[in-house]
Amino acid sequence: MEEVVVKVNNLKKQYKDVKAVDDVSFYVKKKEIVAILGPNGAGKTTTLEILEGLRKRDEGEIYYFGEKADQIDSNIKEKIGVQLQSTVFFQNLTVIETLRAFAGLYQKSLEVEKVLTDFNLEEKKRSRISKLSGGQLQRLALATAVINDPEILFLDEPTTGLDPQARRNTWQIISNLRNSGKTIILTTHYMEEAEFLADRVYIFDQGKIIAEGSVSELINSLGMNSIISFKINSNGNFDDISEKLFDEIDLKVSKNENFYRIETVDLENALLKIFEEARTKKFDISDMIIRKPNLEDVFLKLTGKRLRD
């Protein structure tokens, strides 16, 4: 069995009447990328920051490397790398000064110049922090997270606020980190990010874990192969027909104004039925998309909500 490096049992944290983390248990194995996926306010940051020793837990147990950690002490902090949801640095320092300073905070550290190159910050190393772009800041935050050559990396929404190009770059960096043997726990509300990076996913909602597993396990658990979505332009009523379709083949219909979304394991038959109905009832179908289900569908099925509104 692979080694479990982080284990959390029944973690709880409440703010006034908000249960930010409500009885959460999970584990992370060595060299895994685990994604905590959930909408804003799901309790991702609170969970991570409890693990990082930045917030107090109300209840629950945390194990690091098989040992129970009542306090997240400096021994643990030497071995973890932290990227906060928004990292703020001294505005008047340069990139290289910042990285050197962080290197100085740990017993063990990587070579600063090497890290600058790895994170594509070489050109900017003499720039003041206040002059950096969002993407550059994000890369610096990642660089400071790895400067102590940690065994476990906590990345809190590492690509939020980045443009698609920068997001792709960051994904590549994170993949490389995994390949170099790091264990990574990241939070995100982008399902593509979890799908692209994660070995396993914990889906959070309202402080609870509502599903867990690898991306394919989670998607297969939906029991559907395909999702068809389309729009009906005329004012017909498709609903009673869908009743009939339900019985004949295994599919599920949901409707939002005149947008329809149909989940099915039997794509060919479902499509046939839809077009048959459309022809006989003279429905005008448009904007049809057929796709594989994704984590968004898992979340939708479990909560009735979308990950991002």
Binding site: E49, R55, N75, K77, V88, F89, L93, F102, G104
Partner: protein, 354 residues
């Protein structure tokens, strides 16, 4: 290893401080500007004493004292005659010496109260007479009766100013730096990233304080050196007690900044309060001009402003103001203990897990 962490932190705090325009302005530039401004005004004022001043005296005075007074001296019989002479402008200021109860009373016209020249004549007379009499009182006819303690060798008001400037610099340096560190850095999340590293809260606090002390120290020396070369001041500092004052005042003022932060919570508001306090202290504390310049009604405020005590301590170290060694030590101790306590409390309050 612990030393390495501290060194790393101190080094970035120091770099950040020296590059922080606001901090440099308030701690270094503003005091220097005020020094230049007031120094020039008072420096020229003191030297351009072309007008002939006349002093009226009631009481016995040694020949040697009279000779050391650089003004014309006229003797009078009693308080009434001196008052009349004053009203007729025969003399500019009167002086009653009472040997029995060792009392010295100044008599001056009400409109002269804010006259800088008269104030400096008084200071000068006090200096000369101080060597012979203790427990001197001042008396402003028709106006008031206040006690002012006076120093040993205040020959040049610039001494007075420069020690005040040092006081203000220590004050703003201490106060603003801590609001910055525990207020702004806490609020914007900068501290959080450090707390996620193996740094311990007290190491963080200590590093911040040490680097700010270093900055204050540099500022103090720049002011002292400027005073020396721009205004050719010959300091008479007791460097050991100055260092004592430097440490206790800086730490005390850090405590004051933290107190504001504990009261107001929001660093922006605490910072504004600190600015108001700073301006108030500039005017009320007798740092740039003797407190007698201000109307009596608001003069009492100075007693509540710590900079007054800090300036007094510095003046004591500079041999400009008299104070018992006991008082000196007690004020130092109070500043240090209060400051240290508040710094300690702050590292518990501001650096704990949420």
């Amino acid at each position: 290893m612990k030393n390495r962490r501290m060194f790393s932190l101190i080094s970035i705090f120091t770099k950040d401080t020296f590059r922080n325009w606001m901090e440099v302005f308030f701690t270094l530039l503003l005091p220097v500007l005020l020094l230049l401004l007031f120094g020039t005004i008072f420096g020229t004022e003191a030297s351009s004493g072309t007008k002939e001043y006349k002093i009226g005296i009631v009481g016995d005075v040694d020949e040697t004292i009279i000779n050391s007074i650089p003004y014309k001296v006229v003797f009078f019989e009693d308080k009434n005659s001196i008052t009349m002479a004053l009203n007729e402008n025969i003399i500019n200021i009167g002086l009653l010496l009472n040997h029995e109860n060792n009392e010295l009373t100044f008599i001056q016209k009400e409109p002269d109260m804010n006259d800088e020249s008269i104030i400096f004549i008084k200071l000068e007379l006090q200096n000369i007479l101080k060597k012979h009499y203790a427990g001197i009182k001042e008396d402003f006819i028709n106006v008031e009766f206040i006690e002012t303690s006076i120093g040993e060798n205040q020959e040049n008001p610039l001494d007075f100013i420069i020690t005040g400037v040092i006081g203000l610099s220590l004050l703003s340096g201490g106060m603003f730096s801590m609001i910055n560190v525990f207020g702004r850095y806490k609020k914007n999340g900068l501290i959080k990233r450090f707390l996620a590293s193996p740094i311990k809260p007290f190491e963080f606090t200590l590093s911040a304080s040490v680097s700010k002390l270093f900055f204050n120290f540099i500022s103090m020396f720049i002011i002292i050196i400027l005073g020396k070369y721009l205004f050719s001041l010959n300091y008479n500092f007791n460097w050991l007690s100055l260092f004592c004052v430097f440490i206790s005042s800086s730490i005390g003022m850090m405590g004051l900044g933290l107190l504001l932060l504990l009261i107001f919570k929001d660093p922006a508001i605490a910072s504004e309060a600190a600015t108001i306090l700073y301006v108030a202290m500039t005017f009320f504390s007798g740092v740039y001009f003797p407190i007698e310049f201000l109307p009596k009604a608001i003069r009492w405020i100075s007693n509540f402003l710590p900079v007054k005590y800090v300036a007094d301590l510095i003046r004591f170290s500079g041999n400009i103001k008299q104070m018992t060694l006991n008082n000196f030590l007690v004020i130092n101790l109070i500043l240090f203990v209060i400051g240290f306590f508040l710094i300690f409390v702050s590292s518990k309050v501001f650096l704990k897990e949420e």
